[in-house]
Symmetry: C3
Subunit: 301 residues, 3 copies
């Protein structure tokens, strides 16, 4: 990549994406040596898989990590600004992975430091390394060209969905969005997709499109989005899949989910050949190894 | 070991135990190289010594660890099941160490993953790596054959006691249990010990057996087990030892405790030759090095 | 250093200090190999920069760290004493870095263990590794001889200030203390400085001394020290600097701060050549590398 930071999926061209995915495919067999590099993990919000996945990726590159710990146990509690925190940390580490509750936090941080910043989630904004591992999983299982993908669930607030939809405009992909009315894509995201020439359609019923899908990407509908518990249950129940739901799907359908799931995908799907969400999570390691190595300049040494 | 997981002391034969203890005795001088191995630490309950001890052991093997952090700061808070968490983590790590408040959690987890799982405590269930370091300490200080051991304190809820008592049935050991009536061994544990042909007796008064003991293993009586504060004080006071208590003991008596202690062992015991509980804690490192190396296949490389 | 522990700046002679600073200046180019050493991080109070800085320093030496985690998630919660905790941990690690809310905690801990203990802050007591990086920063920017330094803010409770003032008595330094009446140096510190022959003066107004200063060391005035919010605001406002405040300063003035800052230094100072506080924080890594390597015996191997 010719970028200094990874802040948004929007900054990635098709060439950028393919370079990372190609490298990810072989990096475990032939890892570059980052023994002298230190990666800082700054997670201002809870995370299991993203943080452990970056931590693992850095260690599989032979490097080390230093962890700020939880925001409650840190100087943040004493009133320090994010700009000050990252300016201190750039003196410790060769790159920074940042998760923060505020949209735009990673971009702001990147303007204060000279080391690469990776946005690992900024509020309802972006989560571009998740997008790279999603694309890797799609490419391995269904291919990225002549693709029909259904994206279902909370399309309004899900940063994972926004990043993925944007990145898919680089490929020959038909995007079918499936959600309740109240959780449709934000107008701004829809506008950007149309501007980019994306092939987009919106639905409220999975059955309309299921047979045509190569990939079904399911996301969690969060209870707290609904003022009324009954309304939540009615809506969530319609966007939940199980083995029976998938009877009309193609034998080759790939079912994905960024995890954690609560009950959007029933456990009986886990043992079907459709289930690809654990493989998807595991792909976080080689994809992030390739990403970190590119940002740290590992391949040039 | 020929096991894939270490879930319970019950699964360990005398040969299994001796193989780990023999390797532990020399592993620091000649550590196998686990530079390519990553160990995941999943602690759903607080822990200092067990977690730091596994962390240290893995690093002394040249390997690395990735830590889930506290359950509060993780996806668990979002409602993820343990089965999903471990299926994600097996994609990051070569082995998993798990502590969980629910009895049977480690066994359940092991059924979902292909990497080795070590049970580092499951509620009132088992804590088999603690047992291995306890046996190592006994072997170094008193020998494991023709042994008379007193096990005192909370015998009802202590998972450390249940694991140790079970493992000792592999050796020629007389087990003397000393506790208040209300904290006697659970009927099921007593039954299993008798089935295994163990030489077991129960007492309420330490003085009855103290002079005959080679080892006295003291455990903590927890205040919260007693509805009444006065009852707690009366009972706890009787199962507390100090230098005066030990006047009738053999000069060679080895005093052990799984730690942390509160006041079951008075500080004046620390400077006597009986005190072996810090050495016991330190033995966690070589014993866990040997255990992890066996599970990771380090010796075969 | 010929010391076993680093507990207080008072224990450091001029030769000790210069040995660490000299080594720090070159250690990044030629790091000793501590691949076999493990450093334990025991932080009983929140910390970002001190903990991450020690963690980074140890990893840049090729070594590893094991972290107790927060006091809430540890055995401390079960009532374990600090003496027991460190006696367990000395079996895991080759050195211990300890932060604790109680003054004297590090000294007490050092009396129970055979591995080196570094005091990383003990209540209102000492923080000597901060002092070493402060001295390093002063030496690089203004020199340690024929120095005029202003130390401003909370001089009563600031352990950073007490350690620095004491260490500066080893050098030809004029110390100008600037604070509100209510936050003057404690009588005991003033006494010790006079005993050591220090050239010390106290002021309530920065303007009196600003033009003569080579270094201005600013510290945070904590709201919680004042019973009355209005009194706090009146006082804090007088000891806050911005670009306008510095108009009367020497062009070569070095402005330092131990961080985190809240609003004692306005952001418009950050882009002036005076601002040295981020460089100061970054110096924590080479200085702590030199310190740890000396305590671990790295240079003798």
């Amino acid at each position: 990549m010719r970028h200094d930071h990874l802040l948004s999926a929007n900054q990635l061209s098709r060439d950028d994406i393919e370079a990372v995915l190609d490298r990810a495919a072989t990096i475990a067999d032939d890892p570059p040596d980052h023994a002298d590099d230190v990666l800082a993990l700054l997670f201002f919000e809870p995370s299991t898989r993203t943080k452990m996945s970056f931590d693992t990726a850095m260690k599989r590159l032979g490097g080390t990590t230093v962890d700020m710990g939880s925001a409650e146990a840190s100087s943040v509690k004493k009133g320090e600004t994010l700009a000050d925190t990252v300016r201190v940390v750039e003196g410790y580490a060769d790159a920074i992975v940042l998760r923060h509750p505020s949209e735009g936090a990673a971009k702001m941080a990147s303007e204060f430091v000279d080391v690469p910043v990776v946005n690992a989630g900024d509020g309802a904004g972006q989560h571009p390394s998740q997008t790279l591992l999603d694309l890797y999983t799609i490419r391995e299982n269904a291919g990225l060209d002549d693709l029909t993908i259904g994206i279902m669930g909370d399309l309004k607030y899900g940063r994972t969905v926004h990043s993925l939809a944007s990145a898919l405009t680089n490929f020959d992909a038909r995007q079918q969005f499936i959600s309740p009315e109240s959780l449709r894509l934000p107008r701004s995201v829809r506008f950007d997709l149309h501007e980019a020439g994306a092939q987009v359609r919106e639905h409220t019923d999975l059955a309309e499109v299921l047979p045509d899908l190569d990939v079904l990407y399911v996301t969690r509908i969060q209870r707290e989005r609904f003022p009324d518990e009954n309304e939540y249950r009615a809506v969530a129940g319609q966007y939940r899949i199980d083995e029976a739901t998938l009877a009309d799907a193609s034998d080759d359908l790939t079912v994905m989910h960024p995890l954690p799931r609560v009950d959007e995908i029933a456990p009986d799907v886990d043992s079907t050949p459709h289930a690809t969400y654990f493989e998807q999570a595991h792909n976080g390691v080689p994809v992030r190894m390739a990403l970190l190595s590119a940002l740290l300049g590992g391949e040039d040494r």
